[in-house]
């Protein structure tokens, strides 16, 4: 990761987008790593009986992709201070989801940047909307050892 330079950021600028292909295997791997083994994510029969079209990806997997788009651009995971979004649509195995973001505002005093973001599927439908993130470019690196 190359650290993003605060001075070169412009309001309105687009972040590099990030596209991910969703597989059953990735959903299983996320269930294992997160502990969230809700059968709507793992069991096709159960998911259908719950009224879903089949197993669906965890919403937090989609948000993790948005997180990655942000931190890839920031170049330092410590800079992300806020992340929020609404899960607007289901993500199914086989889908390709694309995370996009743009700089909504930049505050020279606080050295904070607000980013609007959205995640869409291959049909252009929003699967995460009302996405907002905030990053801080401290002059000193934020650290849990600091007082």
């Amino acid at each position: 990761m190359t650290a993003q330079d605060f001075e070169s950021i412009n309001s309105g600028q687009a972040l590099p987008s990030l596209t991910k292909h969703i597989t059953v295997e990735q959903i299983r791997q996320y269930a294992e790593a997160s502990g969230d083994r809700n059968p709507i994510h793992l069991d096709e029969t159960f998911a259908r009986s719950a009224g879903l079209p089949g197993v669906i990806a965890h919403g937090m997997l989609t948000m993790a992709f948005a997180n990655q788009m942000l931190t890839d651009w920031l170049g330092d995971r410590s800079r992300l201070k806020r992340l929020q979004g609404r899960f607007a649509g289901m993500v199914l195995p086989g889908d390709d989801v694309t995370c996009s973001g743009s700089v909504a505002s930049k505050d020279e005093q606080t050295r904070r940047v607000v980013i609007n973001l959205v995640v869409t599927n291959q049909r252009g439908e929003k699967v995460l909307n009302k996405g907002v993130a905030e990053a801080e470019f401290s002059t000193q690196r934020s650290d849990n050892h600091a007082t």
Binding site: M1, A3, K20, Q26, Q29, Y30, E32, A33, S34, G35, D36, N38, I40, F46, S49, A50, G51, I56, H58, G59, M60, L61, M63, A64, F65, N67, Q68, T71, D72, G75, D76, R77, S78, L80, K81, R82, L83, Q84, G85, R86, F87, K130, S142, D143, N144
Partner: protein
Amino acid sequence: MTDARWVGRSYETEPFVVTEQSIRDYMAAVGDVADAGELVAPPTYAMVYGFDAYWQLWTDQEVALDVAHLVHGEQRFNFQRPVRAGDRLRTTGRLTAINTRGDMELVTFELSARDEKDRPVSDATALFIIRKA
């Protein structure tokens, strides 16, 4: 319909000891393998160290959420400091609202994670939607 009298109920995790393996497993699962020297967990790793608070809510037999029809509606995080291997984090979750919208039920869960010196690490608000059976 979940009984509104459970609003205010809270759940606390045991201290979660963050390991490099756990961070790397999470990074592999979400496909975020970028590494800039020192290993810092992706901020959304908050779902891993806080997961037991969510699990306690979902499996609380008295509250009895209809988890088969539960989907994640919204999520908000604030991150007060980065998380690294060696951190011991404790998360408290509180059921703060149960509302209805049309034939859906909306359950709000607010979480706060602190380190072993009781300093804030992250906080979160999750909104779960329970669809009509």
